[in-house]
Amino acid sequence: MIQTIIKRDGRVVGYNEEKIKAAIRKAMLTTDLGEDEALIQRIVDRIGMTGKERMTVEQIQDAVELALMKSPRKEVARKYIAYRNQRSIARRAKTRDLFMEIIAAKNNDVTRENANMNTDSPAGMMMKFASETTKPFVDDYLLSDEARDAVRHNYLHIHDKDYYPTKSLTCVQHPLDRILEYGFIAGHGESRPAKRIETASIIGCISLETAQNEMHGGQAIPAFDFYLAPFVRSSFIEEVKNLEQVTGSDLSHLYNVEIEDYVKKPLEGLEGEQRLLQHAINRTTARVHQAMEAFIHNMNTIHSRGGNQVVFSSINYGTDTSAEGRCIIRELLHSTYEGVGNGATAIFPIQIWKKKRGVNYLPEDKNYDLYQLACKVTARRFFPNFVNLDATFNQHEKWDANDPKRYLYEVATMGCRTRVFENRYGEKTSVGRGNLSFSTINIVRIAIELMSIQDKQERIERFFERLDEVLDITARQLNDRYEFQKTALAKQFPLLMSRLWNGSEKLGPNDTIESVINQGTLGIGFIGLAECLVALTGKHHGEDAASQALGLRIVSHMRSRANEYSEKFGHNYSVLATPAEGLSGRFTRADRKSFGVIPGVTDRDYYTNSNHVPVYYHCSPRHKAQIEAPYHELTRGGHIFYVEIDGDATHNPQAISDIVDLIDKYNIGYGSVNHNRNRCMECGYEDATENLEKCPKCGGTNIDRLQRITGYLVGTTDRWNSAKLAELRDRVVHK
């Protein structure tokens, strides 16, 4: 006797014979003879009595088919079978429509979820098919009921859900020294330790590329200058050895000679050993320049993930004050300034200048000259961005200017903004760690649902109650995913779990990664603070002091809850100011469908990025800095501050350093400057005119208009989704 039914999505429900009756009746009504209630009851009774205790929907339908075939009404059986087939196709139709759109290489928000991805290529399409079919699998089999409901009802977004079944982690800051010192095995090649700058630069690329295939997020090098500096000296020694061969003399005393700076100088007027020394320096500097150029070029051309995506790479640098480290920084900046190919701006790696007082920020600092150069480069190439090592929350008690490994105590960031530093389960550092997964809460929706409450105080108190409910679900969902991720075996991530992740060197290939991954972070993100505040108070935090106070209360609350979850579940939870590329339109569309157009809330095609002042709001850069700064301390999972400046930044690099001064003054963690940069692809003419269509010099119309999306650059807006395009149109300069 049937007791329970297993539905198609795996859920088990009580047996209800009315559903079977309705289906047979429907089939009968499409025949000439019409319905026969007595026959229906006979069939249902028989199936109900003879069936097994637990049956699937398909098994029951098979039984109905058989019973109808044996009955006098065989024409009903035919209709019933036809109806079953139709339903089955209809269930697949949604997938079919999606597949057809991907096949047609159409531009829509599915194929443009990530502007860095080429979904038109065969590998890109293949991945998109997989991605779109994996997501429902995750919903049905891997999420808890409460998490699935929160996602379905648009309160929560689980990032990289398509990677969920693979147990992959998000991102890692590469301890490149381990790779360079010990070599590694990737694919079918075994790499020996690097000996010279060219090899070191290439190995850096391969490390980023290999790990990108083992994770679902970005890859970063936390101390590019420190890691590569030793290979400047070894390349210099090579050059001296070449000279020993040429001259037939012993120059070994020059191998470790003190060098003030590796800067090219003419040899005219130099004699004897001085001449040889300068020649070796010139040769070394040229090789470093070439190696940096190759690094940038490779990071823009090497594709990962089946060939559809360039590596989402970032490099942090600026604090190595050795002559060799300074050489790396200088040549990297020069090469970035020059551009790739015919002088186009390099999209990757995202470059991040580690700004630190006493090292590179004050005029008397050793690397101040390179900081000035960095501002000049940013004015033309958008990079480097600036991470503020002096922000109170970015300082480290163990940092010591004389420690050669002090970079271990310098915060480094993923270019997109993800920040990993504090650590309850190991040393506080950015190096050799990363984010495990993150999920974003739609705080706008929670606020909209309470707009009908007239009393403002009550409305706000109810908001915190609802927020707590969603926060609890989110924390449990992240914990569930962690419990699933930790069962992965080290061999699933050959490079990551043998060299890169802290502690991974003690894992065997068949060990689970459980013992090492708790050093990673679980991110609780949020989007649309501005719209949330408008829904609650009528004004956003950029325009009203009371709204700002409430905004800070909301994010502070999220942070203290995150700390409680860290205690409760035993992980590193942190609050993330979500970059939200694909998400910025999805939440908004769904909320508008549910609640209609609400001015200042759902009337645009996107929700404002995390805690930002809305892009359409006119205010000065200082005001924007003052409003957004306090959120940086609260969002330890990552944050970014942007200023859009008017005019041509290459004419005014001091405007860039003035913005870094704002970052310094207001205790901002990470920031960068947006501006217009056009480049005529025909003649190379560059300017900062808004919406330039035609080159004023050669009349060419192939104009590369560079823009920044959620932290990284794209040379073309063709792959931007509709929400991000709408946001771009609304962006106003801050003045």
Binding site: R622, H651, N652, H734, K735
Partner: protein, 156 residues
Amino acid sequence: MTLNVLQIVPGTSVDGPGLRTSIYLAGCTHRCPGCHNPASWDFGGGTVYDVDELADIVISHEFNVTLTGGDPLQTPDVDALVHLLRRLKAAGLNVWAYTGYTLDEALKIQRIRPVLELIDTLVDGPYVEALRDPELHFRGSSNQQIIDLHKSLDTK
């Protein structure tokens, strides 16, 4: 004392080095062909600000300052402008100014001498459309010059 102000723009990057607060003073008689803002020619245009109030606002933005307009050197109430500049200088701010006069013309106008003495850098000369060059830094046409007034006033 009051001044007619068309606009205060805090944090611009186009009117001199770094981020600056630009003050657009109303009124100009040069009438350069191709002027991007003919509405600024009217001396009675804009909003009337008490000078001290204006100084407070501009100082509160904490950026260096650029006077533009209109032509700030044609401001009818020179005393008011001098008072504003003294307040800005006392707050430690660097001041740029744009004028349609050439430096030599400006130096010959006795009544604006106290204004010039409080300005650090002058961008001089009318906008000449035929000499327009978007690659110039902080200037519209190539006849205009960026002049360090401290040096110029010392020698003249």
